[in-house]
């Protein structure tokens, strides 16, 4: 089957680790054009999946738009979110306010792409004590929408769940027969 291309956006507050996640995922197979002045960094990664229903091979080419983080002074440019099929919303577990803003980001994204899919990433778990993880699990259950596929506790540093997250998102893009 031909190579399907999909645009996904990485959104979240400033400094939560979006770029690190991408670097961990995209590895060396990309053509990385850094456009920080225009607020977005586009990476490309091909994901090879096996469709669980049909068992057939399917490759998806992900065009990952790494958006500049949302700060107090600068919001995300909504037009960058257009046309995306999925999003990874990232929060930093060591900073509660970034986690609180996750639902806001999700809402903004879904308002522009109502049919898209979202994966939530609680990043930097390597910095957190295990007992605090429980609180996180509670938090993730608060954010339930149909379109949130899953919530992951990731660490770009250790690589925990990074690949899984992107793969899960990619699976959604395989055309279901």
């Amino acid at each position: 089957m031909a190579l399907i291309s999909k645009k996904i956006c990485l959104i979240g507050d400033f400094g939560v680790g979006k770029t690190s996640l991408i670097r961990r995922f995209v590895d060396r197979q990309f053509s990385d054009q850094y456009l920080s002045t225009v607020g977005v960094k586009i990476s490309r990664k091909q994901v090879d999946l096996v469709a669980s229903e049909t068992g057939s091979q399917q490759s998806i080419q992900l065009l990952i738009w790494d958006l500049e983080g949302h700060t107090k002074f600068k919001g995300i440019t909504p037009s960058y979110l257009q046309g995306a099929s999925g999003a990874v919303v990232v929060g930093d577990v060591t900073r509660q306010e970034t986690l609180d803003n996750i639902s806001e980001h999700i809402n903004l994204f879904l308002s522009i792409n109502p049919k898209a899919w979202v994966v939530v990433a609680f990043n930097k778990i390597d910095l957190l004590d295990p007992e605090n993880l429980e609180g996180l699990i509670h938090q993730s259950s608060n954010n339930k929408t149909n379109q949130i596929l899953s919530t992951y506790q990731t660490s770009a540093k250790t690589g925990a769940y990074v690949d899984e997250m992107f793969h899960l998102l990619s699976h959604q893009f395989i055309p279901k027969i």
């Binding site: 291309s5 456009l35 607020g39 586009i42 099929s85």
Partner: protein
């Protein structure tokens, strides 16, 4: 007629009660009308029973509605006789087989039937005739069964009983008439409910006692009539019931029986026939229907008032089927019937639940409008036209992209067409030359503000398309792409993403709010990315070389075509290349070819020819200009060189410009002389040209230092010249010269030279004209006047040259001799020696007249005794200045 309300129950009750009282008084009276009634009945065959009924009914009616005006049949028990006739009339009417009547009859019948059931327990009638004015309810039921038995036993009895019951019926009938419930009687075929059950208990008491009287009368009649046929049982019953009074009863019976028997019999016959007919009517469906028919509406009405719910429950299972059935029968009517309600109904529904209406009609509004358009197109237009503008405006605000997509194909070509036509007009007007294209180009050049040559350059220059991308506007994904084969492939996805990001960024940050503008072109080096934007996609073409407008037009046309045909697929593009129609790729590839094809197209001869001509017209003048400028340059150089070689002018900066046939000199020179000198020099070089001397003679105010320097220089220069040896002293404005010059003219010259120096006003000259003495001495051998031959060349020749150099010099040749040589013979030795030299000089071309040869017999000056002898044997030269007289 038979309608009476329950409310009058009380009345009837009261009246009934009253009647009871009165009945006791008017027992006999009660019987009278009855008898007459019977007679009447006899008279009007087949209607007796009914009339009886009617009478009773009327009586009951009257009793129940004493106050009703309508019921003018009301009978006061006390006034029975008075109203008898009325009753009879009424009965007559009633008896007529009218609808009401029949229904009444049926009602009565049913009532009767029901009544028969009731007899057991209804406490109404059966007042003991004889004594029970206030017959208790207890008694009545007893009589009832009694009668009941009688009815059953004897046909006649039956008749009578039925008559009796018929008589009784009215009361019930009355009841029945105003309450409509399904009839439970098995005998009755109507669905009229008999509230007799309910009402009868209440009513029974209120029943006119008159009736009871009547009944009693009848009973007595019957009893009498059956006296002859009396069964034992009957007699027994009678005994039981009547007891002691039986004898009276029997008397009465006898009386009546004897007196009226034949009539009674006849009456009975008629009654029975009547009864039969009644039965027929009741049991026969058709007849029954006829009977009931008049009353149906009333029944229903009553019932509805009474108990709505029951009716609803009864009818609801079939209502829809009823309507359906009717619709099948006659659509038109059904529609007409419902039609009125529909707008109201819709209005109600809208008020109640607006969504439902919308959802109901929604799916079909399209076809509805289509239908309307089919019928009358203008209607829709007129309806929508006023708001079209606003609609479009709103749509532009809400969803701009789809509007753009919609209008883009049209607008582009509209404007292009219009402009094209305008330009064509201009073209036509202007074109009058040998080639339209040439004129075109001229115009284009003029319009673009560039030279025609540049346009030609553009046309000739190759322009290649490196890649073409069709990119989805929102997501930046590539819909379709074509790239030049063989070259390094561009990273298309990244490029597309980057372009999309830049476009978004520009719009968000740079463009004013509310406006949306588009990036048109990115130029880098000699390549450029041309961007053409549609509604949901945009085209990015990477081109190397000069872009021609024609090419841009081609891009636009192609994009219009693509968006028109495949707009839907483009809009819903989700990144799956398989959803992209392959025709798009074909279109893009055409764009790649366009350039090369166009390039080849430009080969035709006409264009070459034109190109040649224009090139020629450009180059030839160029050449000429070049040549001329070469000439001029040459001239200039020559002049410059000449001027530079002139020492006096060399130090001054002069510019030479040659144009046409004129040489212009520019610069500054100290004085006029030099100026003229320069001009002269130039003129010499270019005799055929005119010299335009713009040199300015500048009187430079003398700078003392400079002047002194000049003086110094001059001194040195002059000193270098042969025959001049001077020294100068400079004081401001005055130069003092000292020194020697050989020639007098030199003295003049020197003085003159210094005078010529700018800034020197006076020259004091004490130049001595003093020829440089010739130091050469020629030596002779002892007593000889011959000098050595080599001296000729070594010494004499230079002297001759010297003398030649200064032609105005004279020379005295003085010979000397040594004293030892002094002899008479040698007395002229010195002179001979000088002569020899003189002759020698002459041989070199010196004029004799310039020389004087003398001899002195002495030692030459400077030679002492102690010095060698040969020194004395010499000839010396002495210069004589022209003006000098000599020494």
């Amino acid at each position: 007629m038979a309608v009476s309300k329950k409310q009058s129950d009380s009345f009837s009750f009261d009246s009934g009660a009253s009647r009871v009282e009165k009945s006791s008084v008017s027992e006999v009276k009660a019987l009278e009308p009855l008898l007459e009634l019977l007679l009447d009945l006899q008279m009007s065959p087949g209607q007796t029973s009914t009339s009886t009924q009617s009478e009773n009914l009327s009586r009951s009616n009257s009793s129940e509605k004493p106050k009703k005006a309508t019921s003018d049949k009301s009978l006061e028990s006390s006034q029975n006789t008075d109203t008898e006739s009325k009753v009879l009339d009424f009965l007559f009417e009633a008896v007529n087989p009218s609808v009401a009547d029949s229904s009444e009859e049926t009602l009565e019948t049913s009532a009767q039937n029901h009544k028969s059931e009731h007899f057991d327990h209804s406490p109404e009638n059966d007042v003991s005739f004889q004594k029970n004015h206030k017959s208790t309810e207890n008694d009545q039921p007893k009589k009832e069964p009694h009668k009941q038995d009688e009815i059953l036993l004897n046909s006649e009895d039956v008749d009578l009983t039925s008559l009796h019951t018929l008589l009784e019926v009215p009361t019930d009938a009355v009841d029945v008439s105003y309450s409509v419930t399904p009839v439970k009687s098995h005998q009755a075929e109507t669905e009229v409910d008999l509230t007799i059950e309910e009402s009868s208990p209440a009513e029974s008491q209120s029943d006119p006692e008159e009736l009871e009287e009547v009944l009693e009368a009848f009973e007595s009649l019957r009893v009498e009539s059956t006296a002859s046929n009396s069964d034992d049982s009957l007699e027994q019953l009678q005994d039981l019931i009547f007891g002691s009074t039986r004898s009276d009863f029997e008397q009465l019976k006898q009386q009546i029986f004897e007196s009226d028997l034949p009539e009674v019999r006849q009456l009975l016959e008629t009654i029975s026939s009547q009864l039969k007919s009644l039965e027929y009517q009741i049991y026969e469906p058709e007849q029954l229907i006829q009977l009931i028919r008049p009353w149906i509406a009333d029944i229903l009405n009553h019932k509805v008032n009474d108990s709505k719910e029951d009716i609803i429950q009864a009818l609801k299972p079939i209502i829809d089927q009823v309507i359906l059935a009717r619709t099948k029968d006659n659509r038109e009517q059904m529609s007409a019937a419902i039609a009125d309600l529909i707008p109201e109904a819709i209005k109600h529904q809208i008020r109640n639940s607006p969504q439902e209406i919308a959802q109901a009609i929604g799916p079909e509004i399209g076809s509805a409008i289509r239908e309307q358009i089919r019928l009358d197109q203008d209607e829709i237009v007129d309806a929508l036209a006023p708001t079209m503008g606003k609609v479009i405006k709103e749509q532009v605000i809400l969803e701009r992209d789809s509007m753009v997509d919609a209008l883009y194909p049209v607008i582009g070509s509209t404007i292009t067409r219009y402009l094209g036509e305008a330009i064509q007009e201009i073209n036509d007007k202007v074109s009058n030359a040998f080639s339209i294209e040439g004129i075109n180009r001229k115009i284009r050049a003029k319009l673009q503000g560039i030279s025609e040559a540049e346009l030609i350059w553009q046309e000739v220059m190759k322009c290649t398309v490196q890649a073409v991308f069709l990119i989805h506007k929102g997501s930046g994904l590539i819909i379709s792409e074509v790239q030049q084969s063989g070259e390094a492939r561009l990273e298309s996805e990244m490029l597309a993403g980057m372009l999309t990001a830049i476009r978004s960024f520009v719009n968000d940050c740079i463009v004013q709010a509310e406006q949306v503008q588009e990036l048109n072109e990115i130029e880098y080096g000699d390549s450029r990315i041309v961007i053409e934007v549609a509604g949901y996609c945009y085209l990015a073409v990477i081109v190397q070389g000069e872009i021609k407008n024609k090419f841009l037009k081609k891009i636009r046309t192609m994009l219009i075509k693509i968006t028109q045909k495949y707009g839907r697929e483009i809009e819903t593009f989700e990144g799956d290349p398989e959803t992209v129609p392959p025709e798009i790729l074909a279109e893009l590839e055409k764009l790649m070819e366009v350039e090369t094809k166009q390039h080849q197209e430009k080969s035709p001869k006409t264009l070459l020819f034109l190109t040649g001509i224009i090139l020629g017209s450009v180059l030839i003048p160029l050449a000429i200009v070049q040549y001329r400028s070469g000439v001029i340059h040459r001239v200039e150089t020559e002049v410059m060189t000449a001027l530079d070689s002139e020492p006096e002018l060399a130090i001054y900066r002069l510019t030479v410009d040659a144009q046409g046939n004129t040489v212009m000199l520019n610069g500054k020179l100290p004085n006029q002389r030099l100026r003229e000198k320069a001009e002269t020099i130039v003129q010499q070089i270019v005799p055929n040209w005119t010299v335009d001397n713009d040199i300015i003679a500048v009187k430079v105010p003398p700078d003392p230092v400079l002047v002194e320097a000049e003086v110094q220089r001059m001194t040195e220069t002059l000193n270098q010249m042969n025959g001049i040896s001077i020294s100068t002293q400079y004081e401001p404005d005055q130069v003092t010269i000292e020194g020697k010059v050989i020639q007098p003219s030199d003295r003049e010259n020197v003085t003159q030279a210094f005078e010529n120096i700018e800034g020197v006003n006076s020259v004091v000259s004490s130049i001595q004209v003093e020829p440089v003495p010739i130091a050469t001495r020629v030596y002779f051998n002892l007593s000889s006047d011959e000098f050595r031959s080599e001296d000729m060349i070594i010494k004499i020749y230079p002297v001759s040259q010297y003398l030649k150099q200064y032609p105005n010099l004279k020379v005295r040749i003085v010979g000397y001799s040594h004293p030892e040589e002094k002899t008479k013979k040698n007395s002229k030795l010195a002179w001979k020696r000088s002569q020899a030299v003189q002759i020698a000089l002459e041989s070199y071309g010196i004029d004799r007249r310039r020389m004087t040869a003398i001899g002195k017999n002495e030692r030459p000056p400077g030679v002492e005794e102690n010095q060698p002898d040969w020194l004395s044997r010499a000839v010396i030269f002495e210069i004589i200045l022209p003006e000098d007289q000599g020494k």
